[in-house]
Symmetry: C2
Subunit: 221 residues, 2 copies
């Protein structure tokens, strides 16, 4: 019988290394792009400065993954290509109606996808999985986003409600992107049933971490 | 009598350290912002990838300057504030009508302003000038911009003419920004005359380097 408290063996769920690296690399480039837009439209210099550091972190994760792709003798552009349409559509969907929604998207989607790829990297070979996990686990510099959202929400009940709704909406889109990265999404694999059982607790973990981020902001998840 | 071939003593032209660091730091943030926009609108993944590296270089120069500001016990936002309006207006002016114009702006204005601040850093104290010069002199990763502009121009005479004109126009705006960073721009300094004589050869150097960049692209300067 399946016990959700057990450490889940994710190796069966992990996509191939190239698939993983291409998708994670383009995902970090998307996060960079979102943050760069938040930098460009920041309301003051101190925030602009903090956000630019966060954008730099996403970019350096992206370049770390690119280095791994090159190390294996592949072309980054070729490896990322299959994920462009889906991830661009995702980023457009979560870009938000204003600066605070964009900020929340950067924080929540960036956090969830980092968590997800770190979790997935568990299934990669030992010569690359831990290195990638460390890279993706590096501080994202998002404390400035938390601070900014926190103080904006504090005195504005209408904004708080709107952002709470936005957070709930974007977690759905983000989980769909994550879901599409896993092989069980392909019914032809013939292992769909057992993979679903393995995936569920991973998603439970991801949602729990998302809920903690929402709670930390004072937004009811 | 003044001889233009002599090494120009720029120390009298150098602004105060805080002025220098605040302005150079915000200038690099503007370069980053322009490059990030070029990343977002890049026509293909390989170029996007190369441009993202160039954006990362500008960002790391920016953060290096921020570190210098903090090391001296100052607040980066406070130090950059006086330059925001002027540099934002400049960046808006040189953002260009399309992706190729934006690319040319990043390459030419970024190159000229790096040259300029490196030149100006000569007049800073020994405990900071050389370190800043080294930081700003680091490879900007702009070879991808050159490559991209080169191949776009190669088969398109109309684009070549348009970009040649754009390059001539934006050098003027960029030199004005550089000019405003120098104390002789302030007639109240009482040294305007002698400073003008010192500034001229610096600008001659800057324009010569600009012309080399234009020539390298196959654009008549």
């Amino acid at each position: 019988m399946f016990k959700p408290t057990e450490k889940v063996d994710i190796s069966a769920l992990a996509p191939g290394i190239q698939h993983f690296l291409g998708q994670a690399a383009y995902s970090e480039l998307g996060e960079f792009d979102s943050l760069a837009r938040a930098v460009a439209t920041a309301p003051n210099l101190a925030v602009k400065e903090g956000l630019s550091a966060a954008a730099g972190r996403a970019l350096s994760k992206h370049h770390g993954l690119i280095t791994e792709i090159r190390r294996r003798g592949h072309e980054p552009a070729t490896e990322m290509a299959p994920f462009v349409a889906g991830l661009d559509e995702f980023r457009a969907k979560i870009s938000g109606a204003d600066w605070h929604e964009l900020l929340l998207s950067c924080y929540l989607a960036g956090g969830l996808l980092d968590d997800f790829f770190i979790r997935l990297s568990d299934g990669l070979p030992r010569d690359i999985g831990p290195r990638v996990a460390q890279l993706l686990g590096e501080d994202s510099g998002t404390s400035v986003l938390v601070q900014e959202l926190h103080s904006a929400i504090e005195d504005d009940q209408a904004l708080r409600s709107r952002l709470a709704m936005w957070g709930r909406r974007l977690v759905g889109d983000t989980l769909l992107v994550a879901r599409s990265a896993m092989p069980a999404a392909d019914p032809a694999s013939g292992r769909a049933g057992s993979n679903e059982a393995r995936i569920e607790p991973v998603f439970t973990e991801l949602i729990a971490a998302h809920t903690r981020r929402m709670d930390g902001l004072g937004l009811t998840a």
